[in-house]
Amino acid sequence: MNIKRVLRNWPRTVNSILAMISVAMLLFIKYIGYLFHKTVRNWPRVVSFILALIPVGMLVFIVFTVIYKSIPAIHDVGWGELFSTNFISPRGSGSAAYGLVPAIWGSFLAVALAMLIAIPISIAMAVLSSEFSLGFISRGLRATLGLLLGIPPIIYYVMAGILIVANVFMLPNFSTNQCTLYGGIMLAFFIVPFMAPMVEDAIKNVPHNLKEASLALGANRWQTLTGVTLPVAMSGIFYAVMLGVLKAMGDVFVLAGAIGWAKPDNQPDMPDPLWDVLEINPPLTTTGPLLGGTAQAGRSTCDGISCDVAYLSGLLVLIIAFVLLSTAVYLQNRWKRRIAQ
């Protein structure tokens, strides 16, 4: 190929390059049209993908906001102070303390008590409405559960300080009728309508042939229930319980009504025997709003160290929720695979 010849015939070269470009452009436009056509034909696929990205994006935004806002707390207060047992400062007038351990312990106590009450009751409800064919009782129970799910947490907040404690408990140490035990009880009744339908789904999803095999081998219905149905449904029940724990832990207003926003002045930082459920031990989700200053209306912005610690407590709740949920999903997938084998 002679370079001089090419240069002499430059219009030919340029023309061929232009032709190639135009063909490529035509092909590209055709491809775009094809893509567009495909998109228009399959619009639900594309639109649902875009719409499904929105909640994921919102979640990512929330997580990053909370992380970003809680970094100054670690910087200013320090790990040692944050994870000490000195309860947060608003209750005392003295030096600032930002220990979150009492709040974490309070959350744990309340949720553990709530689960102790709620798990047997929701399993009983689920078994009653799915396993025993009791006609209108089962259907009515299902409808009642659906209705009770609609009771908003503010109703529990309103009823909290008044109903049980005022009548049968006398708590002479405190000015308010609040204690951790009471928070656990209220929380239990808050999450039963949430957990029971999921437990019921888990029990319904047990394969029929397993139950029938058990019955055919001569086991009665009680033995079938305890020996076959409940163990096989255990993965679903565990998942439901985990979601119930998350809902119980993340709740603010039921606990605020039953346990209160802050610890009274005459209470020790940690409860004296650790399992003292008759003390007021505010959980993480009411301590955080108190720190952020958003529990009281009238504060214009949330700033300062206490607000950063509030974000950090939110981050802690988020991390616990993430860990619990991942564990639940992982275990459920594993158990499902084992049952399928």
Partner: protein, 431 residues
């Protein structure tokens, strides 16, 4: 004909009584009834301290009946014969305990806890619950004989009685809300409540407007088009569902409330309408965010989208394969299949999810309260005042009447959801 029927039924009834008496079923039946009554009384005793004399009477009756069961009814085999003895003894012991117990017991001090005095009706309630749960069970056993089905049925109380316990408790809560609030309800209080009610409906409407299309699209993605990604999106959705309202409110707070220098964009009106930034009138330079109902609804939709998405997903998954493939085989595009086959089928679930989300939005307090710091009656461009914030802010006198309205609203939403689901399922699925 008529007389014969009456006579037959009378005869059957007489025969029933005859069997009851002759086979010695009277005492087990009475024991069953008294045990059930005792359980209900035990539930009530945990919550009220004015019922103190009834448990004593009931325990006395129960112990006499149990002794009668031992003496007069034919003995059962095995441990069933010994159980009435044991429980009659327990009844008597608890009877004596209840007679001599002081009115308030310092149980907290005894357990090494904080000094807490508990009324003795709590103990009588707990004793009644503990005694009547087994007695119900074995009185059923005595009543029904020893057939295999009797063996099952005698276990039913283990499941029925906890449910009765919970339902009584919910009944107490709802009864007291209505009992204490009904006096405060009048047309005058409706005048006070009109702005909160309007705010609640604006909040619900905006939330639904945002979260319905996103929720349905996410549900379609989860069940139909997601493929491998749907697991990940499902995890994110579940995390959204179980996210604490308080984290939500905190992140919204970080976005919406701040103080900064006003720039060119901030001087345009649009920010005040959408996000609620306001020029500080005293300085003229500083710009303050305060939050309106719109960011509140956007952050609320994080909690409502998962409800709608899960309901929609369930609806799409329950579609029979033949219908979808039939539509595709007839030459319909994916879009047409979606609008004409999938959506009508899933409509009952979508409506149910939407109404459940509405109930959730109606009861939501945290997001609204954290976002709006002072409450005005301007519905859109100012702050929002909803029923839940009204309940939270008002004192003991005013909160119960607003609670009644909020409760009726939420229960109405869930009830309509349940009814519509049945109606739509009949219409579109022929089920």
């Amino acid at each position: 004909m008529m007389a014969g029927a009456v006579r037959e039924s009378t005869l059957a009834r007489l025969e029933f009584y005859n069997i009851l008496v002759r086979q010695g079923k009277v005492i087990p039946l009475l024991t069953l009834v008294i045990s059930l009554l005792g359980f209900i009384l035990g539930c009530l005793c945990l919550f009220y301290n004015t019922l103190e004399s009834y448990p004593v009477v009931l325990l006395g009756c129960l112990s006499i009946l149990l002794i009668g069961l031992v003496l007069f009814v034919r003995r059962r085999e095995g441990y069933w014969a010994k159980l009435p003895f044991v429980f009659a003894g327990l009844c008597m012991i608890s009877l004596i305990v209840l007679l001599f117990i002081p009115e308030y017991v310092d149980i907290g001090g005894a357990a090494g806890f904080v000094d807490t005095k508990i009324h003795h009706s709590v103990f009588s309630g707990l004793l009644l619950l503990a005694i009547t749960l087994p007695t119900t069970s074995f009185s059923l056993r005595y009543l029904l004989g020893s057939s295999p089905s009797a063996h099952d049925i005698s276990r039913y109380p283990l499941f029925i009685l906890p449910v009765i316990f919970v339902l009584i408790w919910y009944g107490i809560i709802l009864f007291h809300i209505f009992d204490w609030g009904i006096d405060g309800l009048s047309w005058g209080t409706f005048g006070d409540l009109k702005y909160p009610i309007r705010g609640t409906f604006i909040f619900i409407g905006l939330t639904c407007l945002i979260s319905l299309p996103i929720g349905v699209g996410t549900g379609a993605f989860l069940s139909e088009y997601g493929g491998r990604l749907s697991g990940l999106v499902g995890f994110a959705i579940t995390l959204c569902r179980s996210i604490s309202v308080y984290i939500l409110a905190l992140s919204a707070l970080g976005l919406v409330t701040f103080v900064k220098e006003a720039d060119f964009l901030d001087r345009t009106f649009i920010w005040e309408a959408i996000v609620g930034y306001k020029l500080n009138e005293t300085t003229g330079i500083k710009f303050e965010g305060y939050g309106t109902v719109i960011p509140g609804a956007i952050f609320m939709s994080v909690l409502v989208i998962p409800v709608i998405a899960r309901a929609t997903e369930e609806g799409f998954r329950s579609l029979p394969r033949e219908l979808r493939e039939g539509s595709l085989a007839l030459g319909a595009t994916e879009g047409r299949t979606f609008t004409h086959v999938l959506l009508p089928w899933a409509l009952p679930n979508i409506v149910t999810g939407l109404l459940l989300g509405c109930a959730e939005a109606a009861g939501m307090l945290a997001v609204v309260m954290f976002l709006t710091r002072s409450y005005s009656n301007n519905p859109l461009f100012g702050h929002v005042n909803t029923l839940s914030t009204y309940i939270f802010m008002s004192g003991e006198e005013n909160r119960f009447n607003a609670s009644i309205i909020l409760l009726l609203l939420c229960l109405g939403f869930t009830l309509i959801a349940l009814i519509l689901k049945r109606i739509f399922a009949k219409r579109y699925r022929g089920a």
